[in-house]
């Protein structure tokens, strides 16, 4: 417990001491939101969404993208920790790998939630005003999205030797997952194969849950209950997978290293 708390604390302190990471987490999604919002603004109409502007439509997706970036940056630090040597001391210390997993996930989730939450709170400044009553459920949903994406990122990053590998996975898997989550365009009107991809993408339900939380009148989405349930299951599954990977391979990708024993056949 102590170990997990200290590792989570370390994640947060490291983040705060590297201003470039704060900029890196916020700037790209915000830029995308402003530029795409301005560009699509006049031509885009959400089907069945009445008069919702693209800036408004795109906002929940931007928040999720901030969370995704935050989760990626905080879990990619595992690879740096391994290379810079911090993790080697952890690996040979008498600490449970599960405590390491818990610390990393807790730290990463809190950071991702704080960044996504900050954007939510900043929304009025940016000209988009969700109701104050919507903020609490929105933050709750966001917490589970953050947990899910941090767990997923950690499970991937733990077994990678280089950050280049992570970038490849990010571009081929994580970013497309976001594109197909209903953040960027609604599934209505998309070709059937795309709609199918969006339907099996767990992040679709996270974005939908966030839309429901922010706007009670949101339509054209999976139901509120289904969205919350899938998001919860996604978070639980990602955390379990990350914990299992770290527990089985405490030293990560080092093939020569100790790994947890399995019963001999």
């Amino acid at each position: 417990m102590r170990a997990a708390r200290a590792l989570a604390w370390r994640e947060i302190v490291r983040f705060l001491r590297q201003p470039s990471r704060i900029v890196g987490a916020f700037a790209p999604p915000l830029l995308a939101w402003l530029l795409l919002g301005a560009g699509f603004g006049s031509s885009f109409r959400v089907p069945g969404g009445g008069g919702a502007s693209y800036v408004a439509y795109f906002f929940p997706g931007t928040v999720v993208l901030v969370v995704l970036f935050a989760a990626i940056f905080s879990t990619i630090s595992v690879i740096e920790d391994r290379r810079e040597g911090f993790l080697q001391a952890v690996v040979v210390s008498p600490v449970s790998p599960l405590a390491v997993a818990a610390g990393k996930i807790a730290g990463g989730t809190l950071l991702a939630l704080a960044q996504g939450g900050a954007l939510l709170l900043l929304a009025p400044v940016l000209g988009y005003t969700p109701s104050m009553a919507a903020l609490v459920p929105a933050l709750l949903v966001l917490a589970f999205v953050a947990l899910a994406l941090t767990g997923l990122g950690l499970a991937i990053a733990w077994m990678l030797e280089s950050t280049q590998g992570f970038h490849a996975i990010m571009n081929l898997f994580l970013i497309p997952m976001w594109f197909l989550s209903g953040s960027f365009f609604p599934s209505e009107g998309a070709p059937a194969w795309l709609r199918a991809a969006m339907a099996v993408n767990p992040l679709t339900y996270g974005v939908a849950a966030l839309r429901h939380a922010l706007d009670a009148a949101a339509s054209g989405l999976p139901s509120s209950g289904l969205s919350v349930a899938v998001t919860f299951a996604f978070a639980l599954g990602a955390v379990l997978v990350a914990a299992a990977v770290i527990n089985r391979y405490p030293a990560g990708p080092d093939r020569a290293a100790f790994r947890s024993r399995r019963k001999k056949p």
Partner: protein, 326 residues
């Protein structure tokens, strides 16, 4: 050794794929010893360090620390080890004290006890005045001291260090050695790896590793005494000249002196002659081989002589060879 060993290594082997990195190594280390594993790069000392640090499992054989083997409870074994890696394991974005606190928490320590222990260790390592500084602002020597303080947090029985003086300037090196000697005197068993003869010289006992095998074990004084006599070194300009000269010297000594030509050999661009009658040989060799060598030195055997004596090849080249051509 009268005390029961704290670390006992029993037929330890480790292979990476087909490569045998450590070949049935056995020795004991007593409590409070300062023990150095000396060897060229690639000799197997880092593999042995990784095995003892419980980073990798043995392929064959085992070892015990305080009676605990790695096939038992790794966690209990790890409680007895303090490990200092060659590459730093400190978080550069945290302060010195924060680093110790995070590591302490990982060891299950906390609260005032941890604070007091961290403060005491930093004072002992002479870095307490830098406790609030970020690690990235520390010099290499100071960072290594913090690293040692971190490794000692859990009051380990054995402190393991992999090439601890790498990257340090001569002054930091000297003060690090003094610190390790002091730790050993204080009862902490210190086991370090090194490829520096003068560093090994200061250890109570050393084990020399070459090509994965333990080729010598004992105190530096005893090992050097075993080489015996004097060592004459004739320096030439090339390996070829040295080889030719060695043959001639061996022939001349073999006929007119004791027939023990195995004690004459070319090592790199030098010819080494180990004899009990070193001083008497100096004028003989100088007269017999004028112009065949640049310099002739006579000295007592060094640890390098021990290495050459046991392995038959020079120290520097040993590591470069991935394996001897069959």
């Amino acid at each position: 050794m009268s005390a029961p060993p704290l670390v006992s290594i029993e037929g330890l082997s480790r292979t990476y794929g087909d490569r045998l990195a450590l070949d049935r190594v056995s020795f004991d280390v007593a409590p409070g010893e300062l023990f150095a594993l000396l060897g060229p790069n690639g000799g197997g000392k880092t593999t042995l360090f990784k095995l003892l640090a419980t980073l990798i499992p043995p392929s064959e054989g085992t070892f015990r620390v305080d009676g605990l083997a790695p096939d038992g409870s790794l966690r209990e074994l790890r409680r007895r080890l303090g490990v200092v890696f060659q590459s730093p394991s400190l978080d550069r974005k945290l302060t010195v004290r924060e680093n110790l606190h995070v590591h302490g928490a990982i060891l299950g320590l906390g609260g005032r006890a941890l604070g007091a222990r961290a403060g005491e260790l930093l004072a002992r390592m002479g870095v307490d005045d830098r406790a609030r500084d970020l690690v990235e602002t520390l010099s290499g020597g100071l960072a290594r001291r913090v690293e040692i303080a971190k490794a000692l947090l859990g009051a380990p029985k054995v402190l393991l260090l992999d090439e601890p003086s790498t990257g340090l300037d001569p002054i930091a090196r000297r003060s690090l050695r003094a610190l390790l000697a002091e730790l050993a005197r204080g009862g902490t068993t210190v086991l370090l790896t090194t490829h520096l003869f003068d560093e090994a010289e200061e250890a109570g006992r050393i084990g020399i590793l070459d090509r994965g095998r333990l080729v010598a074990l004992g105190s530096p004084v005893d090992l050097k005494r075993e080489v015996g006599g004097d060592v004459l070194v004739l320096a030439t300009d090339s390996d070829e000249e040295a080889a030719a000269l060695a043959t001639d010297v061996a022939a001349s000594l073999g006929s007119s002196f004791v027939p023990k030509a195995g004690r004459v050999g070319a090592v790199g661009a030098t010819v080494r002659v180990e004899r009990p009658d070193g001083p008497a040989l100096v004028p003989v060799l100088a007269a017999a081989f004028p112009g065949r060598f640049r310099s002739l030195t006579l000295g007592a055997p060094s640890l390098e002589d021990v290495f050459v004596d046991r392995t038959g090849h020079p120290f520097e080249e040993a590591g470069a060879v991935g394996g001897r051509a069959a």
